[in-house]
Point group: D2
Chain length 342, copies 4
């Protein structure tokens, strides 16, 4: 069975597991106040060239999003997100559960632009409506697309001029930064966002997201928010240890690049077989469209997610690769698809 | 430096880490729908002799408490807890953040009784006040005390008669069940509570709490609540794998017993040195009272938590042992204390 | 200055004010437990032919919506509403502030149908997404349109089959029930909704909405919810007294009919002047489209709300009539418009 | 039947009702943006000698408290209140429903002091606990007691030094300011609080509370909060009109004084009959203690609230007077009590 269901199907990258094992008996204070966590935070701040940032480690993406957004919004303030944004569709109303409305914008490719956001601002002008305050984007997006530096620069400038914060969900930031379409450097991130996170769960960690708060207005008492939302891990050192390993020699980017490379091979191979795609994704999630009658056959030898109906007879599926995807599996899968198409 | 700060100062018990390592490359579905998690849930249900229970794995205690209580309470309903209860003092208002009041009861030893709860019920009779609905207890308590079977039986009967649910925070359930004062069997728990959890974070896991929902009225759509509160771990298998290891040959109880044994030695040793205690704790948290002038000396060779001022010249400290506490460290510490008292 | 800004520009209908004055010195218990409130609730139950319903009086529409929906939804459940629904655009995120997501549906005329709702149900199938549970509609809608009996019957049947509740915001229910397009009788309402309210604020009361809960599953402890959300008026009798007056000899419907008649005259008169409309509204809100250069002139002699830009050179405005609108003002306004068009 | 149940048993003071009647047909914008509301706000600002304050009108006490506190607190911040505080016991968890913990302090007389608050601050020092931010007091208190100027000055100074806001619930502020024990002038209030409200519901209005926000840090976007919590009355002018009447010639204080005078007569009369009191209240709520066997007799000719059991054979009741209490009823009641005691 070939496994393209997601990028969290295995445990951790061996380097990460090794680090956890080696440090297992070291005694440390709890709640992320240990030396590992401090060192990992410093490495991250160095890597993004922002010594004044605050780095907090949390265990998962939904938890990070809800903790961050609820910490920064006043009760009557709202977050603007693409309709496809993770917070809008796949977090069971987690943001609303903290009291905040999500104002959604339809997009072609999962990406926001100033032009798409402006009408939302125009419509929200007085106290009978929520007050937009944060713009939420994902990079890579839920459709695998990535933002280019000029796009982020424009978006951030727009946010500044309109008194909005720009928050970047980086659950798959590794995939974005190593995408063939990318021209964004890690060092650019603090210059074009108010806060972002480097996702670990989907890029080699057992679990963990490293939230980097750039804007000092957003840092106050942030640990209170983490604790209150249930995210302050007793053995916080586990997050520090994992990120130390991931930041070592850019392991984080190297394994993300591998995932992208595997996805690219998959996409190219399927295209050669005449398969069409929902969107031309340059990262580790790809969206081929299969005839429905082919789908059942496919399911016999591969695992993947059904994404959407394309039309009466076709279905979009999502294939995801990861640091753990083996080239032999990509090739084997393509072989099987080819055979099954005949 | 002797380390009695808490029971989560190290990583995981070696058996747990070994299980994580061995299963690391196994590909599984996410979010706890994997075979490891199912098997672990089954083992737990067997161990507590309650095949109809639902078992959910979460990553931490505060997260478990807030997810469970907010899932079960209607907006105007409240939870009754001892003043010392973890949800009341050490969760940064996590329960209130989900919208619910905690009605507190002063206790001598951190334990609730029907007699202590009755006045709360008497005072909350109409719609101008919250409606008490859940009784929250910890076992062992935040003061190290444990409930006996007859106490829990009485409490649960009282709850049933008064249309209340009884929820047991088992962050240190292992320590309770292996305490020298305990007469409660794991199999008793489903008969005397509506839900409880077997804490892993403080008893050998990297992280993790296994919530056992006994009352079928409390199980509906519980996974929605976990997801919404940010607690549905992508790699849910990590929890399953760890609990499989902990349930194997009662490792969970055996290592908890070790922690208790170490605490008992500590307590006995300190008593021999003439040290008085806040309370006679039969589990892995003990509360010696030191003269203030002695405290500074102590701090030079040991780490522990300052609990409270006892009087003008004395301070209560908390010493905690764990599965990882070594007997040689207990003895070494006692030796040092003895020397420093002279 | 002609005043078509809204239907709450004056105080109360004289009959209502008279009733308040006559009962002013009567001493009653507080919080709606008085005889006036009970009698008014009974009259309403009689009028809608539903003796088993529960009637609760609240002071405003947003308050009623947020109290009702938050009382009935579990934390992870959501409400489906038209994009134009009052709860979605004009309540400052009041529903989200109680923790619930609103799932919006684009509509042509502000009305929901089973066909429009079905895709939302199809997309929300597991615990990664909120669970749709209540369908919110307004009658008349925010665009002045009204539901016909067969439409509501179909919608309610659909809701039942899909385990959804149907809630009808009746801020302008009087206008709906007396619209020229209406074939719905007050007695039909309990057969085609789970709950609805008869709005008083926009139909002759100083303030007040009468929430009628038909479905017994939704009635439990409802007064707790009212109190908790700040809606339990100390002098609850004020609501009872007002609704007693409004239910007397169908005053409620008679004055709503007057508002509709005035709006109809306005709409017909403007049509005769060649003015086009956004939508053909059969109730007391109408939406003429004026050339922008005409708008400034209009503003000199009339007050109204700017609704939306129609195109580069035209603007939709909203004109609202009420129980207090005088025919002479309608005619006078039309005269002035006519003159200004030349 | 003599009616001492509460101070909201009648409608409005005749002057208030007259004002509502006289202005009934005046057309105004909604939501408190009318001239009446502006004029009333100005009168209030003049009366308390604080031209820079913001005044907002809300319909009830619980609504005012929950809107204000939830607007000013960050999610992890808490409010300190006396155990007897209205927000703690009689608002069905309204504050917690907005996400905030109430930290309670036991008091002898319902009043807070710096000494009583200090220990709460000492106990809440890190992110594992909520962060105290607002101190809630009532004047007069729920026990009828009042704060003197030096007490408030000390409390406010303490709050400032500890970075806390001081909020005064003035549901019965009229009774406080006209109490025989009072030395506080209306003009003092802005100097010793960050915000307070002049309660109308319990002092002559049909309904209404005038919130005066003194501290500019607390005023931002406050109307968003009112709207979101369901408190922005469509016909906001009703509140303006009523407060205009109440502020005219200090009607507000004059009728509060009447209530106090009546309570004083009641208390003196009962004392003469040998009745003991729970507390020596100098305002319009008094707390006589009756033998239980006498209570049943009393209930035959008077309405009042049972407050608490004093001992096995005695019960504390609460008698409340208001602007509407007639001296003849006070005398008649005393007569009846005297007769029934024989």
């Amino acid at each position: 069975m070939y496994y393209f269901l997601n990028d969290y199907s295995e445990g951790a990258h061996p380097q990460v597991l090794k680090a956890l094992t080696e440090t297992n008996f070291k005694q440390t204070p709890g709640y992320g106040l240990d030396e590992f966590s401090k060192a990992a935070a410093n490495l991250i701040k160095q890597r993004v060239a922002c010594p004044t940032a605050q780095v907090h480690f949390l265990t998962g993406g939904t938890q990070t999003n809800l903790t961050a957004l609820s910490s920064w919004l006043k009760p009557y303030q709202a977050v603007i997100a693409p309709e496809t944004g993770h917070i809008n569709v796949h977090e069971t109303g987690a943001i609303e559960a903290t009291g905040h409305k999500i104002l959604t914008v339809a997009t072609a490719d999962g990406k926001l632009t100033p032009e798409l956001i402006q009408p939302v601002l125009d419509q929200h002008k007085d106290e009978h409506m929520v007050q937009p305050k944060i713009v939420f984007i994902s990079n890579s997006t839920e459709l695998g697309t990535v933002y280019r530096l000029d796009e982020l620069t424009a978006l951030y400038g727009f946010c500044r001029r309109n008194n909005l914060y720009l928050y970047l969900d980086g659950a798959r930031l590794g995939a974005a930064l190593t995408s063939r379409n990318n021209d964004l450097q890690p060092e650019d991130l603090p210059r074009v966002t108010d806060a972002f996170y480097l996702g670990g769960t989907k890029n080699g960690a057992l679990f963990g997201e490293a939230l980097v708060i750039v804007n000092p207005l957003l840092t106050e008492d942030f640990r209170y928010s983490i604790k209150q939302r249930g995210g302050l891990l007793a053995k916080g050192r586990l997050l520090g240890v994992q990120y130390l390993a991931l930041m070592q020699d850019d392991l984080y980017l190297r394994i993300a690049l591998h995932a992208n490379t595997m996805a690219c091979k998959l996409q190219d191979g399927l295209k050669e077989l005449g398969i069409k795609f929902l969107i031309d994704s340059p990262s580790n999630q790809i969206f081929p469209i299969f005839p429905d009658e082919h789908l059942k056959e496919l399911s016999k030898f591969a695992q993947f997610e059904i994404w959407a109906k394309e039309d009466m007879n076709h279905t979009v599926v999502r294939l995801v690769t990861s640091w753990a995807t083996k080239e032999e599996d990509v090739l084997g899968f393509l072989q099987k698809v080819k055979a099954s198409l005949k």
